[in-house]
């Protein structure tokens, strides 16, 4: 009885955690492409490649974390299973939310830097309009 209940808990936890990770990553990087295009000045191939690299990192980090924290102790009946399971999934969801915000912050920061760079370049060229470069 005991083993069966905890096995059920694991079999509920794994698909939920992995599904959550995949959904979040999909949403994040579908919308992250716009930021990446801004950061790399509309060069589509490098933007796509960097986006994919970050996506791989995000998947690795979150899937790895999700299955490392799988151990749930003292599950004896259905009630304790529900309590443990919801604590675990809730905690993981909060962690995922923090990761999402962190990634979004990185995107925003990269975009800001790229825009500053672009503005500085524009200013430089405006000032030197009459001067010939060697």
């Amino acid at each position: 009885m005991n083993t069966n209940v905890s096995l059920t808990a694991y079999f509920i936890y794994l698909p939920v955690a992995l599904g959550l990770t995949i959904t979040v990553a999909h949403q994040l990087f579908k919308n992250g492409k716009v930021f990446m295009l801004d950061i790399f000045h509309q060069q589509a191939d490098i933007a796509h490649a960097t986006n994919t690299l970050f996506k791989i990192g995000f998947y690795l980090l979150n899937v790895g974390f999700a299955i490392t924290i799988i151990r749930m102790s003292s599950i004896i009946d259905a009630e304790s299973m529900i309590v443990r399971l919801s604590t675990k999934i809730g905690g993981f969801a909060i962690y995922l939310g923090i990761m999402l915000m962190l990634n979004l912050y990185l995107f925003m920061r990269g975009r800001k830097k790229a825009r500053q760079h672009q503005r500085a370049l524009n200013k430089l060229f405006e000032n030197n309009k009459g001067i010939e470069f060697e």
Partner: protein, 114 residues
Amino acid sequence: MYHIPAYILYLLLTSFITIYVGYCCHKNGGVYLHYLLGNHAPCTAINNILLCGYYLVNIGYAAWSLHHGFQISNRTELLTTLSIRTGTIICLLCILHYCNILVLYLLSRKYIHS
């Protein structure tokens, strides 16, 4: 009775994940490397050497980490042990991946400034 299937499953899972992630990173990393280091650097060679080293480190570590063996007595323990071990490997992969991106980025800055 659970040990042999656990070892086989563990090795298969970790090698599959390592090879798949390596393939994806190799494909996308080539473009990234080309962008960071420019046309003059031997990008393809660096990329291939990185991939080779990555396979050696990860598959080697996955195999080496079996040296204590698993303590498994029932199906639940099989699942948890397998998950935790594979999760550790994936976290390690992730740390390596981010370090790699960071090092390439720093290298490119040095390369451009010099």
